[in-house]
């Protein structure tokens, strides 16, 4: 079964269980403009991509991801989740047209209770013990 791994700005990495699968990153001029990425940031992302077995393309994100998924005959597109609202909206557009599998890296903490996010100190008070335990993280 082929899965297309879609790398994006919040996850420039191939999850361990998807190694060997085709992978893609898309430079989208619209996004670059909207995020005001300068050449230094583009360079950092590009250099990182060069260390990975990933196809680098330039074009509109949604169309490009779908184009490559079809070309590869992928059964699904896999990617890491993100809190970014714009990326989330883009992912929703892809989801509407192709099977998508979301992957989560090992969380920093898994709170047992609902967290109070009003102040860092309250959050830290609740998660501190867990944060100081190794999690045997996979990625």
């Amino acid at each position: 079964m082929t899965t297309l791994v879609w790398l994006h700005d919040d996850a420039l990495r191939i999850p361990p269980d998807l190694r060997g699968q085709p992978a893609l990153y898309v430079f989208d001029d619209e996004t670059i403009r909207a995020r005001h990425y300068g050449l230094k940031r583009i360079g950092f992302i590009y250099e990182t991509l060069l260390t990975l077995p990933v196809e680098i393309r330039r074009g509109p994100t949604v169309e490009t991801v779908l184009e490559i998924a079809r070309r590869e005959g992928a059964e699904a597109i896999a990617l890491t989740g993100t809190p970014c609202p714009h990326l989330t909206a883009t992912i929703e557009q892809v989801k509407a047209r192709y099977p998508v599998r979301m992957i989560e890296p090992t969380p920093f903490v898994v709170p047992h209770k609902k967290l109070d996010l009003k102040r860092f100190s309250r959050y830290w008070h609740k998660v501190k013990d867990q944060a100081l335990e190794p999690s045997a993280s996979l990625f």
Partner: protein, 299 residues
């Protein structure tokens, strides 16, 4: 220098994402002789962004941060938790400079935490882990409020309201021409390297919001356009923390604090060293900067 900064995509609360054109995608190159070769290629490819030749003809294009996970692993291995705890507030302190790698998901927070816990006791590792936790915290807030990272989370606790703050940064600040050696040095470093030490970010942010009385959003946009680790959650919410729209009180600093944490490298040669506006006690600065605050809240 860039004029007024246009707004960021995260600021636009759009129901529909921008239309995707018909334009087909093209495959980009993967074979480069060296960094210079990549740099030349990127210049040709992205010729209208910040830092392109058209924009900054004489500047290095690539930052001193090499991309890739191998570099992140080396940096992580070099973290010395005890030294970090002791020296992190100093500009030459033993900080990790891992932020661009963590921000782009090249290295996860749990990997960083697990690694330092393998090498040191929880008590020694605590300060470093606590800083990693700040990122986790901001990301959780971001997941909850999304575009809201661009809005004041709370009122300013400065005795002023948002309308009292200017919308744009003075061009001299962005150009590194204020005549204050520290601020000018940080503005140049931000642009030339894409990185600033945490304390420098705090000093700049407090200078922008409390000394220049400019809205934190203007400063946040400036930082995001240059920082390699630039991230709307960590960046904007840290600006709000300094501004007091996401904290109990405004963060301010004085010359003594900066001088001590930089070994005097800015102040000694500063053109304004004899008339430094920051050369005051915290009490005097608080009275000067926040005259409308109730007296009992000022110190």
């Amino acid at each position: 220098m860039a004029p007024a900064m246009p707004i960021f995509e995260e600021e636009i609360v759009a129901d529909d994402p921008p239309p995707q054109g018909e334009q087909a995608s093209e495959e980009l190159a993967r074979d480069f002789r060296d960094r210079k070769d990549l740099e030349t290629y990127l210049h040709a490819l992205f010729d209208d962004v910040v830092g392109s030749h058209a924009d900054r003809p004489h500047q290095e294009t690539l930052s001193p941060f090499p991309g890739g996970r191998a570099e992140a692993i080396d940096r992580l291995a070099a973290v010395k938790p005890a030294q970090y705890k002791r020296t992190r507030n100093h500009l030459d302190g033993a900080v990790s400079r891992l932020s661009p790698y963590i921000r782009h998901g090249i290295l996860s927070l749990s990997e960083a935490r697990d690694d330092v816990l393998e090498r040191s006791s929880p008590a020694t590792a605590e300060k470093f882990v606590n800083e990693l936790a700040w990122r986790d915290y901001w990301q959780r807030v971001y997941a909850k409020i999304g575009h809201g990272v661009w809005e004041d989370r709370e009122e300013y606790k400065t005795g002023f309201v948002a309308a009292d703050y200017a919308d744009t940064l003075p061009p001299a600040l962005v150009a590194g021409e204020t005549g204050l050696a520290c601020m000018d040095g940080f503005a140049r470093e931000l642009e030339e390297t894409g990185y600033l030490h945490n304390h420098a970010r705090m000093w700049v942010a407090a200078y922008v919001v409390h000394f220049l009385r400019v809205k934190w959003q203007a400063g946040a946009r400036w930082f995001l356009a240059h920082l390699l680790d630039g991230d709307p959650a960590s960046n904007n919410l840290s600006w709000q923390w300094v501004a007091s729209t996401f904290s109990r009180k405004p963060y301010i600093w004085n010359r003594e604090n900066l001088d001590r944490n930089t070994d005097g490298r800015y102040c000694a040669a500063c053109p304004a060293r004899d008339r430094c506006p920051l050369d005051k006690s915290y009490e005097a600065l608080t009275d000067e900067l926040f005259p409308n605050r109730p007296v009992e809240e000022r110190t």
